[in-house]
């Protein structure tokens, strides 16, 4: 969980210093997880964790900086060995930054240059560490190395700033240590310290000595029966100062305390406070929790509104966003907004909501946010994964809570299955089984699945999500230990499992994008400018933060380039050019030859061919078999390629991906499918392979024969190749032309001045290196340019063009009647629906048909099913066709307006599979009946019907705004028809 609590200027970032003891990293998912609690992970593991945390937090810092240009910051490093268990990242690890540019590394570099700035500036050292005397040299070394490594970056950064006339002020960073210790030490060594950073706006000078070390409140708004953890105490103190706080702590570390405290403060001051969480169910739960504590609590979700006038409102982030867009008066009374699970920022589909919300919040609102994007699990953890669906002995010990996850997302059935599993565990009458009670132990939800549908595709849950989800098993202080059982019903690569379970926390990356509805909403209000919104987005910030690093990389590459000196460069260049051309032509020839019609006649089992994959020469291989395989490529036309099973000698040491065997090693013969496109010459030799060999005998046997054949022909310069013209009888004129070209080029190559030089090869290689550097520099430059601009500006312009073309806005960007309609619609594709409305599609439709049409926009199936061959009633089919036509028109306009849009993907968003169901539902069918009509899970049906209701409500408003009563009445009666029964029953959790 991430908790974000926001105020205008000062931003505190608090996270507990985490003890690694509890993290049991040695358990691999395939083992049953029996390693004892408290095993120390290996040191290097810990190091890398430390760095990952830095990475993570470097991005965490970002939104605040992006939002308000906080540049002065206090940073605290882990500078002492805590109980001898903590190891600092070694200096060279941090210094080693330039080998290749990947984002993670760049982030690390950002971090470094920040640190470096710290060293330059005169900052305040607020060292309150009780252990500060013990501060060892390692830290100094670390700083020194970081300084050295980052100097260049810093300069570049400054240059860059000057060049861009950026309004970035000089950054001041103070590096300090603030460590406090909690008195009690439990078995699992709870976090005893916390890191605390303060971000200030650039021109803000704060001489308040309490800033970095806020005092405990004299009259706390809320007291707790236990002693607060340092991170809690610090956060509480910051909130008492009315400053924003970002708390990043693991699940169940007690971030709720911070949230509760900010609510208490708000209530004390007579202000409103909003608590947002990403999931409706969580909102419901939070509402109940908070209601017990504070009484004056309301709930607003899409389904239900309870006590909306309360001082503390729990809502989903989407609701908060729409309130901000509408400029709801509620926002005038809100002093605090608490974002739970702020790490949703990186969610592909929904992250944008968080970002928009934070950007749109008035300056006077303070934010408090919670994130669990850390790697450490406080409760003693046991992880085990089961293959298949058989449960096994899990773990002995005390197990108050078990989180069970499932392999697929057949939500309802599977939950029942999981429940059974736990029952079975209970039935075992083990010492732990007895302690399981069904109510207590099953903590799962739809998200609790090993594979997840993220809006684009099925994927495995990420490490961060794993931690998040497994956090449900056990609460600190209440449970001693939690168990996670993964029910894996699908093959899972060890790497995947490792990545997931070992808990590489997810990086917070922005997934900011903009929708038409949002754009129109912004445009119809006077002073919200979409472009400035983009400028402030996290995505933009991240892009900008990379620039200094890229610049540094460029200078380095250029330096490297100057070191390469080549004799007679002109000559070598000519030689190289010819060679490259020749290579290209030869590749062309190879492609020409490797066409199925030419190659297929020679694919007898036993045929020896040469195989080359790009620059990877595999040498000879033996064809054993061949078959056709369809190539999924392009939109509709299915092409086939011929794939051969081929015996090749591979590198015995390489396991993951086969590699050719190095020249002087034995290697291991393996059968590998090889596309004929990779053939580099077919020999005229065909081995005679015995048919009755078992697969195990086959490989050595064939390989032996291959070696023999190779040896026999060695003296004659290799195995004889089949001639493309004489043997294959390629008579194509183009082919002959190609060959002639190759011949002339070869002649020219021999004639070049450098050809006879003995060191020509060497020099060519150098030249190639030089050219590669040039290319890379060019690429980096391009990246920088992109980062400079507002990333989405082009898209934004294109979107505006589209809106203008379709008459949603006029030439002066003033929203027109169509735009007003579209801005009301957020539950479905606003453009297509508005177009349909203005086309008059709904005029002659019955209420039920309208429902069926709208169902196309709200139903998301899990990828299955072809939209073109849906089973729909004949009288509904033309309606769907007109939807598709409209969508196609939108695509066409988009393309004309230079907005890249994937036509197929866009069209697939309109899913007709639910039309019949919706039609039946509107006609009064019972829920049981419609469930039978489709294979979709009930949960999906319910979600779709509820979204349908939302969309219809928006349509009522839209038809009112165009002044058409008939449609208004029609849509209203549609709502009446669908709003009944189970889908609209109140939440079970309330």
């Amino acid at each position: 969980m991430t908790l974000l609590v926001v105020k205008r200027y000062k931003f505190h970032f608090v996270r507990p210093r985490v003890n690694t003891v509890a993290t049991n990293t040695s358990t691999s998912p395939s083992s049953s997880g029996d390693s004892p609690v408290g095993t120390k992970p290996e040191d290097n593991n810990r190091n890398s964790y430390r760095i990952e945390m830095d990475e993570l937090f470097s991005v965490f810092d970002a939104p605040t900086q992006a939002n308000s240009k906080y540049t002065k910051r206090q940073r605290e490093r882990d500078d002492e060995k805590e109980n001898g268990k903590w190891e600092k990242p070694s200096g060279n690890k941090l210094g080693d930054t330039v080998s290749n540019v990947n984002t993670a590394q760049l982030d690390r570099e950002v971090q470094q240059s920040k640190k470096q700035r710290a060293a330059d500036s005169i900052g305040r050292e607020a060292d309150i560490s009780i252990n500060s005397k013990k501060t060892d040299n390692t830290l100094n070394e670390l700083r020194a190395s970081a300084t050295a490594a980052a100097t260049t970056g810093e300069q570049n950064n400054n240059n860059n700033n000057n060049n861009n006339n950026d309004d970035n002020e000089t950054t001041t960073t103070t590096t300090t240590t603030s460590t406090s210790t909690s008195t009690d030490l439990t078995t699992f060594s709870l976090p005893k310290t916390c890191t605390h950073e303060v971000l200030l706006p650039p021109d803000y000078i704060d001489n308040d000595p309490d800033l970095y070390n806020p005092k405990e409140p004299v009259k706390p708004a809320r007291t707790y029966p236990f002693k607060l953890d340092p991170f809690q105490a610090t956060s509480v103190a910051c909130i008492e100062r009315k400053e924003s706080v970002l708390v990043s702590a693991h699940t169940s570390a007690g971030k709720t305390v911070v949230a509760e405290y900010s609510i208490a403060v708000a209530l004390r001051e007579g202000q409103r406070v909003i608590y947002t969480s990403p999931i409706k169910a969580l909102s419901n739960q939070k509402y109940r929790d908070l209601n017990d504590t504070f009484q004056d609590v309301g709930l607003m979700t899409g389904d239900i509104t309870i006590n909306p006038n309360a001082s503390c409102l729990v809502m989903t982030t989407e609701i908060l966003r729409s309130m901000l867009y509408r400029g709801s008066e509620l926002m005038r009374e809100v002093a605090w907004v608490i974002f739970d699970e702020i790490h949703y920022l990186r969610d592909k589909e929904r992250g944008v909501v968080w970002e928009e919300t934070i950007i749109l919040l008035p300056d006077t609102v303070k934010v408090s946010s919670d994130s669990t994007a850390t790697l450490y699990l406080p409760v003693g953890w046991r992880r085990s994964a089961f293959g298949g669906r058989r449960k096994r002995h899990v773990q002995r010990g005390e197990l108050p809570k078990v989180a069970v996850w499932l392999g697929t997302d057949r939500a309802w059935q599977e939950e029942a299955y999981a429940e059974r599993t736990v029952r079975l565990l209970q039935d075992r009458k083990d010492d732990y089984g007895e302690k399981l009670s069904a109510r207590n132990c099953i903590q799962f939800q739809q998200e609790g699945l090993v594979r997840k549908f993220d809006g684009e595709s099925q994927r495995w849950v990420t490490g961060g999500e794993y931690i998040q989800m497994s956090g449900r098993a056990g609460r600190r202080g209440l449970d001693e230990r939690g168990i996670v059982i993964m029910m894996v019903d699908e093959k899972m690569e060890p790497v995947v499992a490792k990545g997931m379970v070992k808990g590489q926390a997810d990086r917070l990356t922005s997934s900011f994008w903009i929708g038409y509805s949002m754009l129109l909403n912004m445009m119809r209000v006077e002073d919200i400018d979409p472009e400035s919104l983009l400028k402030r987005s996290f995505h933009q910030y991240q892009q900008e933060s990379l620039i200094p690093q890229l610049n540094q990389k460029i200078t380095q590459l250029e330096k490297e380039k100057t070191t390469i000196v080549i004799k007679d460069e002109q000559v070598v260049q000519e030689y190289l050019n010819l060679r490259l051309q020749l290579a290209k032509l030869k590749d062309g020839m190879r492609d020409f030859i490797n066409q199925p019609s030419y190659v297929q006649p020679y694919l007898q089992p036993g045929r020896i061919v040469r195989v080359r994959d790009e620059n990877l020469d595999w040498g000879y291989g033996v064809v054993l078999n061949f078959y056709r395989r369809s190539v999924k490529q392009g939109v509709s036309d299915q092409t086939f390629e011929i794939v051969t099973d081929m015996l090749l000698n591979t590198d015995a040491t390489s396991i993951a991906t086969p590699k050719p065997c190095p020249a002087n090693e034995t290697g291991e013969p393996q059968i590998i499918p090889v596309s004929i496109k990779l053939f580099d010459g077919i020999t005229s030799v065909c081995l005679n392979i015995k048919k009755d060999l078992s697969p195990n005998d086959l490989k050595p046997h064939v390989y032996k024969m291959l070696r023999e054949a190779d040896n026999r022909f060695k003296k004659e310069g290799g195995l004889p190749l089949i001639d493309p013209i004489e043997d294959m009888r390629i008579t194509d004129a183009n082919f002959k032309k190609l060959i002639r070209k190759i011949e002339t080029l070869e002649a020219r190559l021999v004639g070049t001045a450098g050809f006879k030089d003995s060191d020509i090869e060497e020099r060519t290689e150098q030249l190639q290196k030089k050219n590669e550097i040039d290319k890379e520099v060019k690429l980096l430059r391009k990246k920088i340019r992109e980062g400079d601009e507002i990333i989405l500006k082009d898209d934004l312009r294109a979107m505006k063009r589209i809106l203008k073309r379709l008459d949603y806005i006029n030439a002066e960007d003033v929203v027109q009647v169509k735009g007003r309609v579209a801005s009301e619609i957020s539950a479905g594709d606003e453009l297509v629906i508005s177009e349909l409305l203005f086309m008059g599609l709904f005029n002659d439709l019955t209420v039920e048909q309208c429902v069926a049409v709208f169902s196309v926009f709200v139903f998301q199936s899990e990828g299955g099913g072809d939209v073109n061959n849906a089973k729909i009633k004949p009288d509904l089919a033309p309606l769907f066709r007109s939807i598709q036509d409209t969508a196609r028109r939108i695509v066409q306009v988009s393309q004309e307006c230079k907005l890249t849009i994937d036509e197929k993907e866009y069209l697939n968003r309109f899913n007709p599979h639910f039309m019949d169901v919706a039609f039946a539902w509107a006609n009064g069918a019972s829920f049981a009946e419609i469930c039978k009509m489709t294979e979709t899970f009930e949960g999906n049906i319910i979600r779709s019907i509820r979204r349908l209701d939302e969309l219809l409500r928006q349509m009522v408003v839209a038809s009112k705004s165009i002044g058409n009563n008939d449609l208004e009445v029609k849509f209203s009666s549609a709502i009446v028809k669908i709003k009944r029964d189970i889908p609209f029953a109140g939440s079970l959790y309330l």
Binding site: R326, T364, I962, G963
Partner: protein, 392 residues
Amino acid sequence: MNIDSSNNNNNSNNNVSGNVNNKDDMNFLSDININIFSPNKKMRLMHINSNESSNNKGEKSLSQRQFDRNLMTPGQTISREGEFLRGHGTFHSNNALLASVCGLVERVDKLVSVRPFKARYHGEIGDIVVGRITQVGSKRWKVDVAARQDYILMLTAINLPGGIQRRRTSSDELQMRNFFVENDLVYAEVQAINQDGSVALHTRNQRYGKLQNGTFMSVPPSLIKRGKIHYHSLESIGVDIILGVNGYIWLADSAQQRQQASLIQQHEKENYDQPLLIPQAIREVSRESRIKIARVKNSIEVLNRSFMLIHPRAIMEIYQLAEKMSLPLKDMLHPDKIKQMITAVHTNLTSNKLNNKNKTNNNNNNQDSEGEDDEDDLNEYNAYYNDQMNTE
């Protein structure tokens, strides 16, 4: 009522056509020739600029013909067949779509609506309005914005002094008259249109709120073009204008308003719980400024009376024209002068259009112009104006 104007070739300023109301200030209409073919009640309006009337005799520009076709009177059939989506200002009868108001037909795809020439203001979300407080109620003010009903400004929808974010308490309710009292002018934005049709306003940020020490005037809402910005500062003359979409206009002296705003801000920061009395020194508006404001106001009034769209450029054009003609303030609204000015503006615009390339030379307005559009506007509204006159 029908007008028969036989004289299509009218160059004379003094020639007043027959049936136009005999109000003096409408004399300038003589410039404009109106033809009405009454048999099917279809009015044809034609307007020819005096300076080019002889050339254009009998011809109609495309935009004009379109305009003719789009002009509707209540009960007139817009369309008999075909699919259409009924919009505002229309109704169904006997399979035909009829206009319910007098105005121009607008078509967006299949949506057909009639935009009335004269109607009360109808709010849309995001509109900037100037309103006058009519009532102080419980937790709300009623605001007159020239709409069918008073709009609502909730206590929760205003900024508390100093921009404090907190819940409104009962003491706030008791102090409501410290914020706004009856007859105060407010500058606000339409926040939401409620289910029951009532409209809520809000003051989105500190810029919105009470308007003090300036001049108020009102024009028909249809003369104000919805735009991105409605708060304009005419920098060359130091006058601020707020052109409310509802047709209410606020004029004030820029420098004075700035001072006043900073004073208010200062006050709110320091002692926001006491009511603020703006000292005379700050309330004072210099004589020159007052003259300027009055001249701007009259310029707007000129536009209003000649039924032309009101936007900063048009205002400035009239303003400068009046200065050039060295018209005393009080004479600006003399019907003859209005006529003169409008003619001059027309000429200006036409010459603009003709000599697009060297327009900066022979053009005395200081802003870039989109001559074509404006001419259309002028045509449209002049014609409409006549129409109004006739029907009255």
